[in-house]
Symmetry: C2
């Protein structure tokens, strides 16, 4: 049986004097980390936060955030990492829904303070809170089936839902991650993906378990991140594709010495092959690992390891194979597996699949069936298990009776050297029902007709955008870096609300 206590205990024993966590001027060793975790447990106990209660955290990445992420579950309470990009009403909803009485945040007082009984502010007040508390043993009453975290999903579709992940869920997926990412005790891991996403959680646990170093950056800035990779000899990091793309652009324009980088993982949204080619050119020493999953799967389901070796082959456009221990298939709506190569809804099963949505039995039942999590993603799987996502189920464009998957069109657009960002949506059309429309942020001057002619050489005629809008501003994105197609679609569909998801 493994719980969050195990990595903390091991690190305290094997790496007591090694630096564990760094953010800015602040840093502490594993010996200090373990003691601080015990004091956090002591503070929760002293203040009457009972085992099983939810404790919300709303903050930028920091060493303190990482220790809270470890200590709250290790103390038998449930961490609720809130999305810093959510609007106040969304945060109020999540706080209320979770029933958290305590919020730890780096934000100034706001309407959120009214929702909870107590707010502790990072860093000053929090430091006093920790320093003054007695040390209490970790893990009392904690089993692997104890709830560890409640992660509120992005909210791009309907009301936000709290994903219930147990110790077992997160630790099973941590082992899944360790099996493919070859962690080492001398890892120096850069925590740049927001900690409020489950995506970052496995590497936090894995790095602690191996006694490696973690450096947290509060906001993502590609130049600052590259400076840090050089100065801190960073070995590993994980980001969403927009981060990887920005880092590659910066490195190609202003090269630093990034030879220490061994692992550069990405996930959270689809990514164009050309972005990865540039990332590989920018960071040739790093193994690219493409990850796919969902908060509901804690989060990893598939991985394309050594992706840089696959980029010129057909599998470079896949998100890899099921990670050993996770079963991934494509089902038709009746729950039957589709034939190899046929598009179906991607379903995921394994010890990493969530217990369910907090207080939402109906929504849970609609996505968890016979142990399978229905991801809402459409994809096909080849004869060696490589998973090719074609689109979000709801993002499919139906034009003249033909299905068009936005990512395929975006892939074609990205292969043009002038394209920096591209998103493809369906817009209403009297004749075809929908037609294919693209929104493009160019890297350099280019005409829409040039891009349309470019696409026509690569994909079937019915998939080629009928119209292209050029923009100077970056595309709107959700927390995890997914382009918010909803926002792009809205102007076109605002009189037809049922189409706007």
């Amino acid at each position: 049986m493994h719980t969050f206590v195990d990595p903390i205990t091991r690190a305290e024993r094997v790496a007591r004097d090694k630096t564990a966590l760094v953010s800015g001027e602040f840093q502490f060793s594993y010996g200090e980390l373990a003691a601080r975790c015990r004091r956090i447990a002591g503070a929760l106990e002293r203040d009457g936060i009972a085992p099983g209660e939810r404790v919300a955290v709303l903050a930028a990445n920091s060493a303190q955030y990482i220790e809270l992420y470890l200590a709250i579950p290790a103390a038998g309470r449930v961490v609720v990492p809130l999305n810093t990009r959510h609007a106040v009403p969304e945060l109020v909803y999540a706080l209320g829904d979770s029933g958290a009485r305590l919020l730890i945040t780096d934000r100034k007082p706001s309407a959120l303070d009214e929702v909870v009984e107590r707010v502790i502010r990072l860093p000053g007040e929090y430091e006093s809170y920790v320093d003054g508390a007695p040390e209490t043993a970790l893990g009392v009453g904690v089993t692997e089936d104890t709830l560890a975290g409640l992660f509120y999903t992005g909210g791009t579709t309907g009301a936000s839902k709290g994903v219930m992940l147990t110790h077992r869920n997160l630790i099973a997926n941590t082992y899944h991650w360790m099996a493919i990412s070859h962690p080492r005790p001398d890892d120096r891991y850069l925590v740049m993906a927001p900690l409020f996403h489950a995506a970052g959680s496995n590497s936090v646990l894995a790095t602690v378990w191996f006694g490696g170093l973690q450096i947290a950056v509060p906001t993502f800035d590609p130049a600052a991140v590259l400076d840090m990779i050089e100065s801190e000899q960073i070995t590993s990091t994980l980001g969403v594709p927009t981060m990887i793309a920005a880092m590659a652009e910066e490195q190609l324009a202003n090269p630093r010495n990034t030879e220490s980088l061994r692992v550069l993982a990405h996930g959270g949204s689809p990514v164009a092959t050309e972005v990865l080619r540039r990332a590989h050119r920018a960071f040739p020493t790093a193994e690219l690992i493409h990850l796919y999953g969902a908060t509901e799967t804690a989060p990893l389901a598939t991985a394309l390891v050594r992706e840089q070796e696959e980029l010129e082959g057909p599998r470079g456009r896949s998100c890899g194979q099921p990670i050993p221990g996770v079963d991934v298939r494509a089902f038709d709506p009746e729950g039957n597996e589709v034939a190899t190569g046929e598009v179906g809804e991607v379903v995921i099963r394994g010890p990493n699949v969530m217990r369910g949505y907090w207080n939402k039995a109906e929504q849970t039942a609609s996505v968890l069936k016979d142990g399978w999590y229905w991801s809402g993603d459409l994809g096909h799987i080849d004869d060696e298990g490589f998973v090719f996502l074609v689109d979000r189920a709801k993002d499919m464009i139906v034009s003249g009776g033909e299905n068009v998957y936005g990512t395929e069109v975006e892939e074609a657009l990205y292969r043009h050297p002038a394209v920096l960002e591209a998103a493809v949506i369906g817009i209403p059309d009297e004749k075809w029902g929908e037609t294919v429309h693209a929104v493009v942020v160019p890297r350099e001057a280019v005409e829409p007709d040039t891009l349309i002619a470019h696409c026509r050489e690569l994909i079937a005629g019915y998939k080629v955008p009928r119209s292209i809008e050029l923009r100077d501003e970056p595309l709107p994105k959700s927390g995890p870096g997914k382009v918010l197609k909803r926002e792009l679609r809205e102007p076109f569909w605002k009189d037809r609300k049922e189409q706007v998801s």
Copy 2:
């Protein structure tokens, strides 16, 4: 929840047409392997071998052995891999104790046939047995707490005991192994350590889970193994130290191209640093990984990764740190942890620790206490968790009131270039109780006095052998390659039986 079914299912889906197992002329793909596993399940069902029953296997390594090792537990039965080096009375005991009604063996008819209801002989009769059976679904009624294997321990001390390992035990330890050994889908793994030891089981499961290739060799011959590494482009293997030493000697004398070798793991008994230096010189592309554990811990507890980088430092003589997920400490006889650096009995805790000994509640209770497995090994642990074994508890020599740990004396002997093998025992002495005696197999002509003078430069006077016997024959070894000190001691102690363990 993971069981043995998971790696088989995944491999069938992602590597259906890839070669899974090879031995001699015999080979089959993962698609065939999965189908054969289902037929083995069908055959057991058809023949009335109920779920939970034990099925014994007594055979040299082969593809068929590996599939039985996978299929019997996946079918909900319990595999009992018997030690081929045990004498018939020992095997009769194990068969009777386990209650197995079915034995699958490559041996000619013998007294063993009388103990079980049915014997199926490898390879011919077995092939008919498998070919003729219906395919039955794997995993029916199997949970992670289902017993997967019963491993009879060496029997070097007292009556042989059946170590009960569950699916959870073996799969948790497989993940522990994957976390440190960075398996890959293109692994080509050489199965040369005997499959009847739990030591080989994790790499079997890990390789199947990743869809890699396994080649089994029935008997260990260093020249044949090296030929195979070259011709089959072997990437990874695991052996006992005597195997590693023999391979290194052969490679240094008659070099092959072994550049494909990425991982060369060893475990099962202590090993002299000089043997490892030679192994690194012989196989410079391979990462040496030193493993320590026990059948009772399924079996891995600690690992010294990238051992070749540690050989000249003090930690090169350790067996590494606890593998993430396994807790390893040194306890005094009262169960209190000893101070850092002090010698105590090595104890091990984690999801890999056995359920107990089959039908031996008393012996189970004597080694499993509060979740800790008491290994019987003496060792000390440094401030970063590196474990230094000093000896088997029972192998300690007490001479003139001073404790002498045999391995330390052997380590000194091995540093002399003329020493190929060395074992140190205590022999009776009227004055000192015991004195230190060494049995040495020299690589080249050498005088005992030369070796004694050599030791005197390296270790305290009371540890230096008072007498040295030179032998031409290899030292007697148990199945896993441990030198049978019992046999070396016997002539000296035969009138004092209580001292012969």
